[in-house]
Amino acid sequence: MAAGNPPKIFDLFGGAGDALKYAKAGRLLDVTPIIEELGIADKFLNLSQFTLDGKVYGLPIGGSTEGFFYSIPLFEQYNIKVPTTWEELEAAAETLKQNGITPFAMGSKGAWVPLMMVNTLIGRYAGPEAIDGFPAGTHAWNSPEVTAAFAKYEEWVNKGYFTKGELGLEYADMLNQFVTGKAGMMFDGSWRSSVFKDPEQAGELTGKVGFFPMPPVPGGKGDQTFVNGNYSNGYGFSADLNERELAAVKAFIKNMYSEEMQLRGLLEDGVLPSMKLSDDAIGKVEDPLVKQIMETMRQTGGAFSHFDSTVSSDVYKESEAQIQKLIAGQATAAQVTEALQKVQQEANAKS
């Protein structure tokens, strides 16, 4: 990409840090005429992370949502019911902690992992509009609501609700913590659901995992039934194509973005569809975990993105540094949000 020579077809993440940045630099093919010609332009659920100035530069292959996976055996053992209110969630965490089980598995060596929960906390405390509001300048990181979201995360860190030694653990270690029964819950993306069908990866927890979205926060702003919805992983195409390559790209789009492939992704990988599917296609889903996830998506009032696709790269990088400082106890929630707002303001001034 830096050499001006991207591959013809490649996996691409949407958002300001990836697709939109490459689109601005003129590296990506504008696919708007192709999807209109194929008649699939309005079948996509959300193209915002690939759209710049009204033109579409990539196509999401699937969607995901982020929420809590929980261990059915552990919940049964300690008589915990699936939390639907905030008090129930905190009570569940406390019960697990009292019984020597880590409430939330966590591996924060890669800072993007804790930022998943932080993102949904922001959506709850400050409202779904905050996620898009940061780069737009309408919402500030150091507003009391966003600071409250970080403060709640800080409170859980101080109560010992996360895996001890998390800063040395990777994303895969977090899964191991959950699967080996050391933790009762794990906040992760819906893409993880396919792991829990596979005995080699999920071990004793195979088929015994459930999903629930983050409950409404008392006093939270905005619609508390919204969930995180990301339609940001997909395919992009080089802007530099000759006739035959363009024809190949059109054929690729036609075959890849079809109901059949979307359904396959859903049934085999647990990847939520990025296009509208007919009802009987959806009816073919049998895995109870995927059904739970799709039911969550159906019941929400709407979805908010992850801020890693709305803010620019330097703000995102700062958020990675700051969340690790928060976890290590080297910064308070207030200091974190002040630092983030400072970088955000510099970024907004530049664009």
Partner: protein, 294 residues
């Protein structure tokens, strides 16, 4: 016929290919990339010339200053902790009669294994719950230490792993120097009644000072360059506790928000530091150590 090497043109012809390769693969990339250190190029869009601001930003960032200090700690550890141990081990190995080859090989092997492999293996040793190190500590009643997750233990952990990997290399160098000392000197000292320790301190060590000087210089340069062990074991974490200048550069220039101009500026800073440190060493202790009382 005039001797060919006296003819300046023939001389030039012979060394021209090497100079060409040197210029093409070393000088030209260094000079042209040094230019980018004064821009804000992010690899994609057009860059703007920003003068010294990249350098000012680097020194203004507390995380970078932390990285400089960590590099100095690496160098300090290499010179003041590792080198005495290296000399001690080399003396011990030199004094064994049998199996010297076996000892030489065993200490040397870690330095030829890939650093990434060593980083991962030691990651398992440092594993807080099931790793052998914590299990050993548990025998003595000490609680589990989260080696790579706690800011205060991560750097010592990385230093120990790095020492384990590289000490063998230097031990073999120093051993060669020790074995090169003529036996007559030691035999004369034994006749005069000197004990093993006295011989080691007053004869062996002074005579191997030149090689120790080389080892110090290599350690300084190595301490400036250390990056792969840090990236594999901790990625510079937790929260910058093990960040060194080169890992800071990797994260800045090639991480989430690539900024090649800034990364190049940091590379130049590393180069300047290494140059200054080795020059200072050469002109002070180096001269004395290599001066030679032979």
């Amino acid at each position: 016929m005039k001797h060919p090497m006296r003819n300046p043109w023939i001389y030039t012809l012979f060394i021209a290919p090497t100079l060409l390769l040197y210029g093409l693969f070393f000088l030209w990339p260094m000079l042209s990339s040094s230019f980018y250190a004064f821009t804000d190029w992010n690899g994609l869009e057009n860059y703007r010339f920003v003068g010294w601001s990249n350098f000012a930003d680097a020194f203004g960032d507390p995380d970078f200053r932390r990285a400089i200090i960590n590099n100095l700690i690496f160098i300090g550890f290499s010179v003041f902790v590792q080198i005495p141990l290296i000399v001690l081990f080399a003396l011990l190995i030199a004094s064994v009669k049998r199996l010297r080859g076996f000892y030489k090989t065993t200490v040397f092997v870690p330095s030829i294994v890939s650093t990434s492999v060593i980083g991962i293996l030691w990651g398992f040793i440092y594993e807080p719950e099931i790793g052998p190190l914590n299990r050993l500590l548990a025998l003595f009643g000490a609680g589990p230490i989260y080696w790579l997750a706690e800011p205060k233990w991560a750097l010592p952990a990385v230093l120990i792993t790095n020492a384990w990997q590289w000490m063998g290399f230097y031990i073999v160098l120093v051993l060669a120097a020790i074995l090169a000392i003529p036996r007559e000197i030691h035999e004369a000292a034994v006749v005069d009644g000197a004990s093993g320790w006295q011989r080691a301190l007053n004869i062996t060590v002074p005579l191997i000072l030149p090689i120790i000087s080389v080892v110090v210089m290599l350690s300084i340069a190595g301490g400036m360059r250390v990056v792969d062990i840090v990236l594999v074991m901790t990625k510079g974490g937790p929260v910058g506790a093990t960040e060194v200048m080169a890992s800071y550069m990797v994260n800045e220039a090639m991480g989430v928000d690539p900024n090649y101009g800034f990364g190049t500026a940091i590379a130049l800073i590393i180069f300047a530091f290494a140059l200054v440190l080795t020059s200072i060493y050469q002109f002070t202790f180096g001269r004395r150590m290599q001066g030679g009382e032979f």
